[in-house]
Amino acid sequence: MSIEKYKIVEGQVKVTYELALGRTWSHFYDCFKEGKIMGTRCRKCSRVLVPPRSFCPRCFEDMDEWVEVSDEGIIETWVYVNMPFFAQETKIPFISAQIRLDGCDSGFTHIVGGVDMSDLDKVRAAVKLGGRVKAVWSREKKGSIRDIEYFEPVK
């Protein structure tokens, strides 16, 4: 059996999912739309987590006390993303960061912007571990994580 070229089938699949946010995250995004970042506090360890949880992943207890946290915080760590990949919703280059919001006990993942992205040295001069950032809210909010466009360094 001699074969000149092995055949390949190209496939692409598009299917629809309807995924429930549930009570806690629905409320979080309702408040987000109003420009407020809400967390929940654990009854046992007293930590405030954002995004909020209905239960504490450390204590495995209910978390039903709502607390508003600041839209300002410090950068715990960050990455300069310059890799395009399929279905990526943000145009490269962009900065992903873990931000510790004031009044919160977990890292909030989001995007850092409002800095000159033209070269890495300029980015490094503006974005620093421990640096303070503040949320820049979208003008049109839809009740989604991108209601905050990005966090920008506080000058």
């Binding site: 990949f85 992903s96 909030f108 993942t109 989604s144």
Partner: protein, 378 residues
Amino acid sequence: MRKVAITHVAQSSGAESRESLMDFTYKVNKEILDKAGLKREEVGCIIAGSADIFHSGLSCANAYDWDGIGAFMKEGSRAEESVFSFIYGCMRIMSGRYDTVLVTAIVKGSENPDNDPITCFYGDPFYLRPLGINESSVAAMQMRQYMNRYGVTEEQCAKVAVKNLGNALFNPYAHVKKRVGLEDVMRSRRLYDPLKEMECAPKSDGVVAVLIASEEKAKELTATPAWLKGYGCSMDYFNPGDRDLLNGQLKAAAARAYKMAGIRNPEKNIDVAEICEPYAFQELIWCEQLGFCNEGQGGELIDSGITEMDGSLPVNPSGGVLATNPYPARGLYRVAEAALQIKGQAGEHQVGKKVKTALAHSTHGFGGQCHSVVILSA
């Protein structure tokens, strides 16, 4: 509990394959049965390691997987983390239910989307995914914290890629075969700064099979069994923001495995380690957390040369995941390579020292959310 040993190992060639997944799977499983001198009917049970949809374009992929593994008309099971498949197989022997189990992990990475869009789907659809977070971006954030907290340098991280790709030149089953220097790695594209392109694992095709057996059966099948001595696993919280990325669950997983294996001083008691390092710097963090050096000393560990092929504790003589990354199968590759080192059958990448005890490690999830550690012994 009964003893259990790896008796045989078989792997596909590292090159991308143009065979269909089913044929690709069949070849390696046929090979391992031939090596062991067993007929398919004589194998007790079969456990697969594979992943559906994103990694194979198939739903409920095990339905398709069984034929090529030879699992039809047998009891079987499957896990997406292939070290879990291995341990499920071991438990079926330890419990006395079977005397032999074939564990096989399969994937054709060349056929499906890149790792980054796939691992973006680890993220939940409400929060992390719309932000474009994936395994590489979390790894890069972990790397920046690692360098900042301990003063480990980018060059020290890059050295892992130089070492592992160098080792892969001696492994006929490795995927990426090229000699690279420190400058090549440092100058490669900063796709996820501080991570560079050559510090990120490729995407590979791979089938790896290990035959495991009870004590009596193992002694009958081989003169060089690699006995399972310890296993430990631990999982961290889902959200990267809920954890300290530099203090995850590997220490806990290792402690469980070491306790079971009676290992008190891993740096001395372990002769060789195969560690899952999809990102170069992770080998350094994982080595620290496995107790091969102190916390924050990973940079000095790589500088010392201890983890080189001829060092006192070689790490990833096979080239590791940086050379070969058949994603869901990569954990079982580590186990298979650890077994080959104990059996003295690793060929040109057999380490210089005599191997009595070997460690295999696997991880998956953002920043190493889940870790598994396997200890094998001659």
